[in-house]
Symmetry: C3
Subunit: 325 residues, 3 copies
Amino acid sequence: MQTDLRGRDLITLSEWTTEEIETVLEVASDLKRKRALGEPHPYLRDKVLAMLFFYSSTRTRASFEAGMAQLGGHAQFIESKTTQIAHGDTAKEIGEILGRYNDGIAIRNVDWGVGNRYIREVAAASRVPVLNMQCDIYHPFQILADLLTMQEKLGPLRGRRITISWAYAKSYQKPISVPQDLLLAATRFGMEVRLVHPPEFELMPEVMDEARANARASGGAIELLDDFEAGFRHAEVVYAKSWGAMLRAKDEAEGAEIAARYTDWITDERRMAMAAGHAIYMHPLPADRNVEVTDGVIDGPRSVVYDEAENRLHAQKAVMALTMR
Amino acid sequence: MQTDLRGRDLITLSEWTTEEIETVLEVASDLKRKRALGEPHPYLRDKVLAMLFFYSSTRTRASFEAGMAQLGGHAQFIESKTTQIAHGDTAKEIGEILGRYNDGIAIRNVDWGVGNRYIREVAAASRVPVLNMQCDIYHPFQILADLLTMQEKLGPLRGRRITISWAYAKSYQKPISVPQDLLLAATRFGMEVRLVHPPEFELMPEVMDEARANARASGGAIELLDDFEAGFRHAEVVYAKSWGAMLRAKDEAEGAEIAARYTDWITDERRMAMAAGHAIYMHPLPADRNVEVTDGVIDGPRSVVYDEAENRLHAQKAVMALTMR
Amino acid sequence: MQTDLRGRDLITLSEWTTEEIETVLEVASDLKRKRALGEPHPYLRDKVLAMLFFYSSTRTRASFEAGMAQLGGHAQFIESKTTQIAHGDTAKEIGEILGRYNDGIAIRNVDWGVGNRYIREVAAASRVPVLNMQCDIYHPFQILADLLTMQEKLGPLRGRRITISWAYAKSYQKPISVPQDLLLAATRFGMEVRLVHPPEFELMPEVMDEARANARASGGAIELLDDFEAGFRHAEVVYAKSWGAMLRAKDEAEGAEIAARYTDWITDERRMAMAAGHAIYMHPLPADRNVEVTDGVIDGPRSVVYDEAENRLHAQKAVMALTMR
């Protein structure tokens, strides 16, 4: 167990050791059990988290705010449009000032080429932990929830077969932070990863390099495919969602035209039947129903999407309790 | 006293027994006294309520949020327009996910033909109590506050004469949840109810049927009038406000034209003088001043509108403490 | 020490005695030390503050909300546009109703000729303390933070030389509450005050009269200048910011044209070098960088703007703890 986490930022899991991540998952399980039993766990009594949203999100906001309250503290919901953040305050000023008023700063900024840089600038000026609620590159709390969910359903992750796949959606420019960060985590935990996407929908090359190094170090594997159906065969985890931030198109019309070549990349019952008998279907939600995935799959017996969404709460509470105390 | 209320939804008071409602009112009085004495009452320490507003409301939001804080917990203020609720998340997803993050879900959705159905869909998917902060049909917490206020001012309600009357307002399409739910409650508590409205401004027929059955069962009475002034005579409670959701008009112009026939349906001092000498004037606020009611009445000695507004707080705290603990 | 502050409004420091203000500053220092040590100070456990914002503000909202949470209570963030405050509820109704739901009401309304009057109307109807988070005339919590910061940096304020100066900014109509309230406070504390502004950018005459009376009573002094550079000479505190609410211009174009005569009123390193060797630079933020002040000054060794911003938190907590308990 690695417990020296007080004061630490969580901007990307790549800066946390695998043992530190395992500690988070153990604490998350413990907090989940305590909540089920109604056992008080006010590890952050009267402490305050500033949540800065450049774009809002139901799950992220609701789970961080509820989590802080359950830990005995408070989370401020600050939208950039309703404050002077968007016009006037520099990242340094935000870090300096919110870092003095609060015990932690959580930020969601998914603007391509901007989000991660902004979060790092705030962190450089902040005296308190800065938590990444999703940027253009990473989504560490979603991935912690995903790891926890997979462990609960499948046990130890080493050697487990996960398919991380692109899926079609009308708004084809969705962030790539989830598949990228999941790829990095799955390879670190020694999983056998299939990454499946049309040739046009790549991930960042530096992320691919890091994932390959992770797999070598952990004894895991990465296989790249561009055949949607092949991705399902024998998979134990199917994690299929749309992304598109890296697509190179000369304009929106061309982008939409390229994406439209792959409208059949939808997770349906027939394809799920090609996966392992005990395979689970995962999605960070909200899903584009009957476009990314059929109702039959997402509402069906293999879907663990609600447990996955719930685990956001427990994973986030674990990180907050460990870093902000 | 009926105390088996843990985990219960409050979507309509019709699903709660009269004895359960009386328990709520007793607890509300007790909590009001405790607050007056500064006596801590943290019955929901570190518990969390999600408040979903499809339309905001000063009183409703401020009283629920303050109430949760006074009970030691926290209420999240979630507006549908700032989240993915309005576009993407189904009612089932909201119920499943917010039900896992929170200890209760309160919803305000007054869309005609939509609100109540939406709340029920969320409730069906939620593992925690769902509270109706006003829908198209019911407004149970307003009515609990009204019952508490009438008891405080008049004592036991059996046999008391209440006039529930339509009043003119420029925006004639106001919700009918308040008069409907008040009619249902007053008839259950054995009051002698006069319902007064122009012929065009009816309540829902199923609500009328239920109210008649209530009156029969309780020994109360309902009298229907379409003469505004006649409604005031000998009334002990005057509850006159605008509504119009059920008006059948072919377009807005015709609707406004129909409503404009009744611009003289305003509560003024002359009419209040026709009521009983100890009569009280009630309104859930905000009132359309000098249109629905004169300043002289609403700011005058018979008006109990601020006590009525205050009692929202205590009634809501009572229900939350009983259901969400 | 003057401690009879329970239940008191803070609308303007002019209604508080100097000894009462000193008590606030002592409590603020004590709370700052407690926070540095992680010592719990839940003086307002489960108490609630309603914060009404007619215009939002990062620092003000974040510091009040964090402060209430650290004191064990909760602050509701209410924006007038998202509620019925802007259309429907009178100031009296707000005071009556929010005063019953909450243990304090804080208001920010900087509308010229409106803000202070609105706050006073709410206060007249409220049973709980009303706190002025900035109006058109005063900004008492900013000034408390400023006094605390100056004491920390310079020791006792009597006889210290402060320059309160106008500076150019593109949006020339900024509120005058900060310079006015700072002038009133500095003269009360016996400081030697230089007030520097172009002839067109005056403060309110009644404020000037009160400041002169303050200086006479305290043994301090006021000097008026219209020469920006002269203001820097030997100053121990340079507090230079834009304002313009009192500017008499027939239209916006003329107003902008007048302001544009003074674009060289910018605090830069050369001018700061004219001040005393130990001089500090202060600004309430957000500053118009490289227009009001150069990056070199605001980010330089004489700038205390972050400590000044931090002290908002401690000063506000002190007033809330003293008035709302």
